[in-house]
Each structure stands twice: as structure tokens, then as C-alpha cells.
């Protein structure tokens, strides 16, 4: 994939272990997307989704190939790429406000400015009145909103999310999807969103990338128009739209049967 793209994975492979027991988590994966895209990656568990995200986050160096952002190769982590994990991974000794201000704090932003930054995002995710609480006093959904606010308080250009809503109940998940979408629409952020929920992927993504395991590969990439429509039409309407259902079924078919048989 050429460096024309804002984010470009070029022939990226990741192998864990050696010899007989080696696992090819990613096998010559190429993927590029532009600034402001919302890329959803779906696929069965073990197909390399987390590895893909880890490589872009800088947590995992590729065994082969390269990943670049805005033309420069990714080496290690950077605050330009914010991450939200499935388990919120909050700092339990810090208050809600302390968690939200952590990024600006370690980056040397002054006390006043980082408090303002934290307040801004805590208000947006609806946690401002809980600012003096501790994470263990929050529900799962609130913890995940805090993790989102913590990542956003750093003003990342790219937001990486690894099954962030996987542990939430259906109702909370739906609300979080809408919140995330409105945050994304109001920003210039590029999002890489890992999920095993096909509906979630088709609903949220401008692009849906389907992966298959052993070795981890991208088998299809589809454009999805619904990310832009949902705000105007409401999510329930979108999700029952025949075009939405058709795309969802197509993606599901790809995951279950592979590229050869799907869509026939």
C-alpha cells in the first residue's frame, strides 16, 4: 500500500514464536485509509485484529513490512495515536478527572490547561458530575466512556479502539456507539475500530475490513455509507434499512464462508 494514504500498512507481517509453534498473526497485510475515515475491522477471534491495532499503536513491531502515518514510519507509541482497550485499563488510584487529565499531565501541559482539557471531554461523555469519583465507583459503560475521554483529552489524530464496547450490555453499547459517532463526526479524527460485532462495524464504519485467521489476512474491504447517515436519520432507522441489512448480511457471509461463496 502506498504512502499516499494517511495511514498505510504495507505488506505487514507479524509472527509470534519460532519454528513449529510459530503463529502468523498477520500475513502480508496491506491496508490504507485517508484522514477522517472510520475503519472497522471484523473477523473471528484469533484472526489478528488486535495485532493489527497493536502494530499501528506502536505496541508491536512488525516482523516484516512497514506502517506509516502521514508518510512517516511508525516506531513505538505516540500521543498522536490514542488507544481505548476492551477492558478500560483506567488508573484506579486517580479520580475520574485525574484519569482524564493523565495524557496532558505526562506531556507537561500546565495544571490549569489540562484541567480544562479534562473538563471539556468529561462534559462531552457525560461524566463531569462524577469528576471526583474513582473508577471503581463507575459502571462498566461509564468506565469505558472515561477511557474514551482520557484518550480524547490528548487530541489524538488517530483513535484506536479494540472491542471497546464488547463487555457492555446491548443498550449501553448502542448509546456508546451513537456517542462515539457524534464525537467522530464533530472532529477530524481517523478511527480504527476493532469489533466482532458485524452490525456495529457496518453501522459505525466508513470502511469495513474483514479478516480471516491462520494466517491473519484481509479478505475483503467494503465501503459503508451509514456512518454519515446515522446522525440525521437515527440509529434504529438506519439499522432496519434494507440496504443496511443487506450489507450486514454480506459481511457476515464473508466471515462465515470466506470470500469465495459470499454474496452469491
Amino acid at each position: 500500500m502506498s504512502a499516499r494514504h494517511y495511514v498505510a500498512f504495507s505488506d505487514v507481517s507479524v509472527t509470534f514464536g519460532h519454528g513449529e509453534g510459530a503463529v502468523r498473526a498477520l500475513d502480508r497485510v496491506s491496508l490504507g485509509f485517508g484522514r477522517g475515515s472510520f475503519v472497522c475491522v471484523v473477523g473471528p477471534s484469533g484472526c489478528g485484529k488486535t495485532t493489527l491495532l497493536n502494530v499501528l499503536a506502536g505496541f508491536q513491531a512488525p516482523s516484516d513490512g512497514r506502517v506509516s502515518v502521514a508518510g512517516s514510519e511508525v516506531h513505538g507509541t505516540g500521543p498522536d495515536r490514542g488507544v481505548v482497550f476492551q477492558q478500560a485499563a483506567l488508573f484506579p488510584w486517580l479520580t475520574v478527572a485525574g484519569n482524564a487529565a493523565f495524557g496532558p499531565m505526562v506531556r507537561g501541559v500546565g495544571r490549569r490547561a489540562r484541567a480544562e482539557r479534562a473538563e471539556h471531554w468529561l462534559r462531552i461523555v457525560g461524566l463531569w458530575e462524577f469528576r471526583d469519583r474513582y473508577p471503581y465507583e463507575l459502571s462498566g459503560g461509564m468506565q469505558q466512556r472515561l477511557a474514551l475521554a482520557r484518550a480524547l483529552a490528548n487530541d489524538p489524530a488517530i483513535l484506536l479502539m479494540d472491542e471497546p464496547f464488547g463487555a457492555l450490555d446491548a443498550l449501553t453499547r448502542e448509546r456508546m456507539q451513537e456517542e462515539l459517532q457524534s464525537v467522530w463526526r464533530a472532529s477530524f479524527m481517523t478511527v480504527l475500530f476493532i469489533t466482532h460485532g458485524v452490525e456495529e462495524a457496518v453501522f459505525l464504519g466508513t470502511d469495513v475490513v474483514v479478516m480471516s485467521p491462520r494466517p491473519g489476512r484481509i479478505i475483503e474491504r467494503l465501503a459503508s455509507p451509514f456512518a454519515h447517515e446515522a446522525g440525521a436519520r437515527g440509529s434504529r432507522k438506519v439499522k432496519s434499512d434494507p440496504a443496511f441489512v443487506a450489507l450486514r448480511e454480506q459481511v457476515l457471509g464473508l466471515i462465515l464462508e470466506g470470500p469465495e461463496t459470499a454474496g452469491q
Partner: protein, 261 residues
């Protein structure tokens, strides 16, 4: 089945009952004459020994002085072990090379009965406080260092990755994430180490000392003052309990999130 511990008036009442039962048994045993009176003083005799010592002191030393001597030695050795042991354990947890280099020494010291090398310390540092502080330091250090190391290894990886992706550098991760994450484990180590240091300080005072609660007990045994011996033992128990309670209170304040997150 796990049940929540009782608290409040019921717990106090139950505890008071068993203390009263123990006192009654002791009184009955002393009164029965089954044990020679110079070997087992009655509760009343111990109480009057307490009054006597509070009034006149014990062989030229006051009770407060002896208690302060014991607590002071204990906390000095323990405090030094905290100051050195926590960073040492963190280092071993963070740096596999440090763990490889120092791990065996720490694991060798940890189960070693401190009194076995006490005699060497006396030869090196004399019979004064120096040898006792060194002894307590060596008792507490490996316990604290191991706990800190274990704490580092238990830090959830996503927490570290989150901090790094938020822009934290190595030392910021150590200070803002690894250390606080390891605190619950460190405090567990501190409690064990303090208890070990306290029992060791008393044993050390029994071996060689000119003051302290342990010395008081030993000295009383030479004069067959079972009332003073029992008094010393009771005070030791109370002091030990108070020390560990105080540490527990600090722990609850500092690691308030522990067990809830």
C-alpha cells in the same frame, strides 16, 4: 464460604467475651496452685506489677523508655528496609537482569532465621543499637523487595500500554503507573515485614540488650519475677498489635482502590 468480617458492637462483645474467658482461665490456673506461684503470677499480681513499674520503673528504667527503645529499633530497621527494599524490588521487577543478579541473594536471605546471623552482627556492630537495626533491616529487606518485585510483575499490561500511548516515558510509567499498581502488593509485604521485624527485635533484645521490652522480660526471668515476665509479654502483644493496626490504617487510606477495581 467467604463471609464478611463482623464489625461494630457484636464483634466487640464477642471479643470481650473470649478475653474475659482467657483471663478467667488464667486466674483459675494461678489460684488452683497447680503451677508454682513464682512461675505463674495471677492477673491481679501482674496488674500490681504494672502499677509498681509505672510508679518506680524497672531496675532503673521506665516502662515508656523500654517500649520506646523496642519500637524505635523496630521502626528504624524497618524504615531503612522500606527505603531500600521498595526501589530494589521495583528494579528487580522492571529489569530482568537485576532480578537475575539479585534474585538468589534475596531468596537466600528471605527464609534465613535472622537470629542465626545475629551473632555475627554483634561481632561487627557491637551489642548496641547498630547491630539490632542491621538485623531488622536484613529481616525486613528481602520480604519487602520480593513483594515489590511481585507487585511489578502483576501490573496489568494494558494499563502500561495505555500510559505509554498517552505519551508517558519510561520513568513516568514507573512513577505514575508501575509504583501505584504495585502498592497493594508492597503493603502486603510491609505488613509481613513489620511483624517479622517486631518479633526479631524482641528476640534480639532477649539475646543482648541493656533496655527494651525484650530485655525487661529476660531480666525478670533471672529474678523469677513471673509477674513482670507476663506483664512484658502482654505489653509486647499490645504494641505489636498496635503497630500492625497502624500500618493497616495507612494501607486502607493509601490503596483505597484495592479489591474494588
Amino acid at each position: 464460604m467467604h463471609k464478611t468480617p463482623l464489625a461494630g458492637p457484636v464483634a466487640c462483645l464477642l471479643s470481650a467475651c473470649s478475653v474475659a474467658a482467657a483471663l478467667a482461665t488464667w486466674q483459675a490456673l494461678a489460684a488452683s496452685g497447680a503451677v508454682a506461684p513464682e512461675l505463674l503470677a495471677s492477673p491481679a499480681q501482674v496488674l500490681s506489677a504494672l502499677a509498681e513499674i509505672l510508679r518506680e520503673g524497672y531496675r532503673g528504667t521506665t516502662l515508656a523508655h523500654n517500649a520506646a527503645a523496642t519500637i524505635g529499633r523496630c521502626l528504624t530497621g524497618f524504615g531503612l528496609a522500606v527505603i531500600l527494599g521498595v526501589p530494589l524490588g521495583l528494579l528487580m521487577g522492571l529489569q530482568p537482569r537485576a532480578a537475575a543478579a539479585l534474585g538468589d541473594i534475596v531468596q537466600f536471605l528471605r527464609p534465613l532465621p535472622p537470629l542465626s546471623y545475629m551473632i555475627l552482627l554483634i561481632l561487627w556492630f557491637g551489642t548496641g543499637d547498630g547491630s539490632k537495626v542491621a538485623l531488622l533491616f536484613l529481616t525486613a529487606l528481602p520480604i519487602i523487595a520480593s513483594a515489590a518485585m511481585a507487585g511489578v510483575r502483576l501490573v496489568p499490561r494494558p494499563r502500561i500500554l495505555a500510559a505509554r500511548s498517552l505519551g508517558a516515558g519510561f520513568w513516568q510509567v514507573v512513577w505514575h503507573v508501575v509504583l501505584p499498581s504495585a502498592l497493594p502488593s508492597i503493603f502486603t509485604g510491609l505488613r509481613i515485614a513489620l511483624a517479622a521485624a517486631f518479633s526479631t527485635v524482641v528476640a534480639a533484645e532477649l539475646l543482648a540488650a541493656t533496655d527494651g521490652l525484650g530485655w525487661m522480660v529476660l531480666s525478670a526471668s533471672r529474678f523469677l519475677r513471673s509477674d513482670v515476665i507476663l506483664l512484658g509479654i502482654l505489653i509486647l502483644g499490645v504494641v505489636g498489635m498496635a503497630l500492625s493496626r497502624a500500618l493497616l490504617l495507612i494501607e486502607r487510606r493509601v490503596v483505597h482502590w484495592h479489591g474494588r477495581a
